[in-house]
Every structure is written in C-alpha cells, then in structure tokens.
Amino acid sequence: MAAAGTITLYLTFFAILLSIILGLVGLKRRREGLIDNSHRADLISVVSVFTAVSLLLRALVSSDFSLKYVAEHTSSNLPVIFKISAMWAGQSGSILLWLFILSIIVLILELDSRYRQQRLDLKLITIINVFRLFFVFLLLMVNSPFTVAEGLLNDGSGLNPMLQSIGMIIHPPILFLGFSGFAIPFALVISALTSNKEEIDWARYSRPWILFSWVMLTAGIVTGGNWAYTELGWGGYWAWDPVENASLFPWLTATALIHSLIMQRKKKGMIIWNYLLISFTFILTIFGTFITRSGIFDSVHSFSDSEIGYYFMVMIVILIIFVLYLFYKNYDNLKFNGERPGFFTRETGMILTNIILLILFAGVFLGTIFPIISEFTGRRIVLDKSFFNQLTVPFWLALIFLMGVCPLLEWKKTDTGAFLKNLFLPLGLTVTTLIIFYIRGYGRGYGQLLAGVAFGISTFALVVIFRDFLKGFRHYYQKGHTGLLSSVYRFFSNNRRRYGAYIVHLGIILMLIGISGSSTFVVEKMASVDPGEEIKLGNYRMEYKGLKMENWLEPRVTATVEVYEGDRFRGKATPEKVFVQGYKQPATNVSILSSLKNDIYFNLAGWQDQKAQLQVSIHPLVAWIWIGSYIIYLGIIVVLWPRRRRG
C-alpha cells in the first residue's frame, strides 16, 4: 500500500509539473497541440490524486497498520466514520485533503464549458496547479501519509475520545472547502492581470465562488464554535484563540469583498480594492494554515510544531511580493474614475461597511500577532480574550447598525425626508425594547449595558429589514395574480440578491443576539449533591436522582438530573463520564438542555459512591447563534439559486 501510494504521489507531481510547463508554453506560443496535452496531463494528475485519496481511505478503513499514518490516527475498534475522518486528523492527511479539493475544483474547470472562452480554463488551471504542485511537494518531501510504520503493529494508537465527535467529521472538511474555494477568484484576478489586452470580467466569474467559499468559511467557523462549546476545556464557542482568529481573518476580508464587489458591479469603482481583497483573502487562507501548523503561537488548538509551517511562510512571502508586483504593474489599468458618490447614499454605507470590516481585521490581526511584536520589547505579552472583546464589540455593533441604515439609503441620492420618515418606526421600537429591557431589571453594569445596546441596535436593524421585506412583497403580491405561496417563491426568485442578502443579515443579527446574551448573562454553580438533593440556579430547580454505572460496551457513569422551572418540567439531563479503552482518564459527555430561551449545561465533574459533583451553568440565548447560522446558509442558497433560463 505504501509503495503504491508513494508512486501515485510521484505520478501526480510529474503530471502537474508537465501540465504547467505545457500550458505555459502552449499559451505563449498559441500551440494547440501543447495545450491539448497540458489538459491531458492535468486530467492524469486529477485521476492520480483521486487514486491516492482512495488508497489512503482504503488503508484507514481496513486498518492497515503498516502505514504510520493509519497507526497513529486510528485503531481497529474505532467506528468506521472516525476511521474515514482520520483522513484529516493528521497533518499529511489534511494536506492530501486540501489537494483533493483543489483537484475537484480543477476538474470542474476542465468540464465547465463557461470557462472555455479565451482559454480561461487553462489559465486558471495552470495557476491553481502551482498550488497543487506545492502541496504534492510537501507530501513527498516533508510529510507523507504513505510513510511505512516502524515495526509490526497489532493495533494503532486510536483517536483521542475528545476528537470522536460529529465536529471532527464535519468541521475540518468544511473549513478546507472554504479555504480552497478562494483559489478560483485568486486565479481569475491573476490571469486577468497577467494576460494582456483580453478583458475578463473577473468580478462576475468569481462572485459565485466567493459566496460559496464565504458560506463554507462561515459554516466552518460556526461548526468549530459548536464543537468547542460542547467539549470541555476548549473555552466555549469562541475564545479568541490564535487558531480561531486565523479562520476569522479571511472571513472578515471576504465579507468586505462581497460588499465591494457590488460596488464594482454597479460600476462604482473599487476595482483596485477588490483585486487586493481577493488576493489577500486567498493569502490569508494559507496564513491560517501556517498559524495552525507552525505552532508559532500557543493555542489550545495548536496541532504541532513542525517544519511544514516554514514552507507555508515562504509561500506566503512569495505570494505577497507577486501580488504587490502585479498591482504595481497594472495600477493604471485598475484605476477607475467613476463619479464620486454623494455622502448621504448607499455607496457611503457600502464603503463604511468595508472600512469597519477592515478595521476589525487589522485589530484582530495585530492582537493575534502581538506576542511576536512584543518580543522586541523584551517581554512577551499575550492579549487576553477581554482585549479582543473590548476592541471589537463597538465595531460589530456599528456593522449591525449599518445593516439597519443601509436599506433606508438609496444609490446615488437619498431623499432626506423619506429617510427620516422611514427611521421613525424602527427607532420607536428600538427605544421600546430598551425601556422593556431596563424595566425587567437588566442593564446593571458595563457588560449588561453593552448587551442592552446590542439588543437595541439589533431591534433597529431587524425592524428595518422586515419592513423592507413586507413592503416589497405587498407591492409584488398586489400586482401579481397568483396565489400567496407562488408569489412568495417568485418574489424571492426575482429579487434573489437583495432579499437573499437581507436573509443573511437577519442570520447575523440573530447570531449577535445569541452572542450578546450568552456572553453577558451566564450564571454558574458547582454543587456536591446526594440523591434527592436539589440545586437551585436562576429560576430553576434541579433534582439530582442518582448515578448509574454501566459496564456494557464502554463502561460509563451517568448522573440523572431533572430540571423544573417552577412546577413545569423542563427536561432530564444526563451528564456522564465514559471510560474509553486505552485512556486512563474518562471522557466527559456534557449534557445540554437547549431551548430558545437558554441552554442549561451540565457536567459531571466527579463522584463518590452516589454523591455527585455537578457543574451547572445557564447560557441565555445560545441557540440563536446556531439558528442564525442556518438562516445565513438559507440566505446564501437564495442568493446563489440558479436563475431560470429565460426563453
């Protein structure tokens, strides 16, 4: 297996190299024969990557411990799904996965006829192939999944129980999809800037890829947060850990990019800005891998200190120089002298959105690399979670505020009177929300005050967005002569961009509400209880019923707690500890009673006979973070839904 795998990797390497050389020469000399052969070599490389992936998967599933990778990341008694997910449990496997996704993208480019014009397909493929070559090089020279294990092993070392979770199955590949998707927009701008004369509308071609990558990146971040939330000791759904921040960098620049692309599409300039944003978003996806893999920062999620990080660093430096050089060379072509928009317009709103996102990026970026900067002063200083919260919260709030203001502004010129009239209802409802918030007894202290402001601004944006929906829909419904449901469908399908975007905004606002509530109003308690005893926390009465020991399959100890709010039964929680074979410390399964109002989080910290030590915490509104993310996905589906071909 090892030999076959290694041969496949070598074959991939030379096929990609050949495809690049034939492609470059063929494009330059316009030789059809060379171009055709470049495509053939490329297809061979795609097939051989697929072969390498299936070889590794077969070795993982059949527990072939002659491979070091299989022995290090699985064991024979591991459920099949985790044997498969072990593909991205290790470094070399992850790189192979990345290579695999890029190969799928290359295959799409080979097959999709839309890219045939002006040899765009080959140009894009050749640019992406440079990165595929880089990854195969890393696999061959630095760390291969097909390395032979030393000695004969009966069993592998297994997968840590903390990683045996749904998060392990979905989070890494989704994030890699998000990272890889930016390769096409990047290849598009680079090919536009390196080929003379020919005009490629890279903004139009790259838009669906940017939206796809953005939503994958969003999903990657949210699923990671969800995983960390349900796993003890990972600091909750977001801890401003360097590795977490690394996934936020490209997300922030890509979010800015989505807005500035609208400006370019509406012929309002920002072309240079977009070129730089696409390039740096792509570079930041590689930088993210560098942070994760180099171990240069201390992180809870740091995966290893390995030399592979330095190869990524070299790649990043080369890319930055290359991007800036192209920028310098094409500066005159990229310049666009559109009309200067008035101040009180949607244009200004879009630009402000961009500026705020970039400030957020700069702040989080500098905060993350601050330990390295501070080293020059002699004492390495790390910035705490609270630094990032204090720095970013006002800007997040400003973004939500803009989500409310922008729909009221118009392109080119806004009618001030209408604007003020439209402001009346949302502002009124916002003030009402705030008054109710304070009457209910919240708003004591800085954190709660801030949460109050967040709820107020969210209300404002929500009201504006909903009213805009209703207005537009009523108008549409009265004009049409179809039923309500088909009107809804047509309404959305005819205004996909606008209302899809509003749905995404809606999702983000709901997430913000969830984040504000859960980060401000947490209550926690640790209690030692005998069966029959009660724990009181918040408005809840938690009755501890006792411990149950099981020895079936994996031995486990389960505590049962019944939760009541007044007399109403809320649910039964069953936090437990599981003893996994090969690990002397048991693994924790927390138990979460989730509702729209709050999550009640139980952890069985320890026990003596029937006495249990329970850690209980109440996290208000957490569910809205996950609900918000589903709404975001829905919004992007609406935006990307294929247009019905007319006539």
């Binding site: 470094q91 070392s157 000791g233 390495r380 609270s386 204090q390 720095l391 693994a587």
Partner: protein, 108 residues
C-alpha cells in the same frame, strides 16, 4: 493599544518557569507554559480543587486550580496556565490544554 475603557486587565505577561522562580508574588496576570509532572496530579472533585506541578526540566512549580479537571488532563504534556503568583505556588485562573495531540507527534 487599548482604545476602549478597560474593565478587566487584558494583558497577560509571559514568563518561563525559571523566571517565575525569582519573581515576587503579586497581582500581575501571568501566563506560563510547562510540562505536566504526571505523578503530581491531585484531584479533589468535592471542593473542587486540582493541584499539580509544572516543570521545564530544571524548575518545578506547584499549581493550584479551583476548578474542574478538564478532559484529557492526565494525558496532556504541554500545559499553559494563566494566573498569579503567590508564595511558592501559582494560583491558576485559567487552564489551557493543547488540543488532543493525536495531531502528529502526540504521546508516544
């Protein structure tokens, strides 16, 4: 660096274990990294109280944590702790384990 009114100290000072040895006790928030001394772990869930020792090979310091023992603690090698220095012991306010390092190198 800090633009907004600071409510909580947002700055952690990084020290090595040997530097910590010669430092005076104080309220400064410190972050320190070390290897877990396996047979020093003492976990009393009733309190809850977790005590252990961190070492860099030469210097060892006693750590006290008034919190719940995280999963995978016994299997950890590197540990990052945040807290403050008292007389000859370090009061931990935050414990950071590295992600289960089945990710390469891992435990032997």
């Amino acid at each position: 660096m800090v633009i907004w009114p600071t409510r909580v100290s947002a700055v952690l000072f990084l020290y090595t274990l040997s530097e910590l040895k010669s430092l005076d006790p104080g309220d400064k928030k410190i972050r320190v990294k070390g290897d877990l001394v396996k047979d020093s772990i003492n976990w009393n869930p009733g309190q809850p109280l977790l005590s252990f020792e961190l070492t860099d090979g030469e210097n060892t310091m006693k750590m006290v944590y008034n919190g719940v023992k995280p999963d995978n603690f016994d299997h950890s090698q590197d540990l990052i702790v945040v807290g403050k220095l008292e007389d000859n012991k370090f009061i931990v306010s935050k414990l950071m384990l590295q992600c289960p390092s089945k990710y390469e190198e891992g435990e032997e």
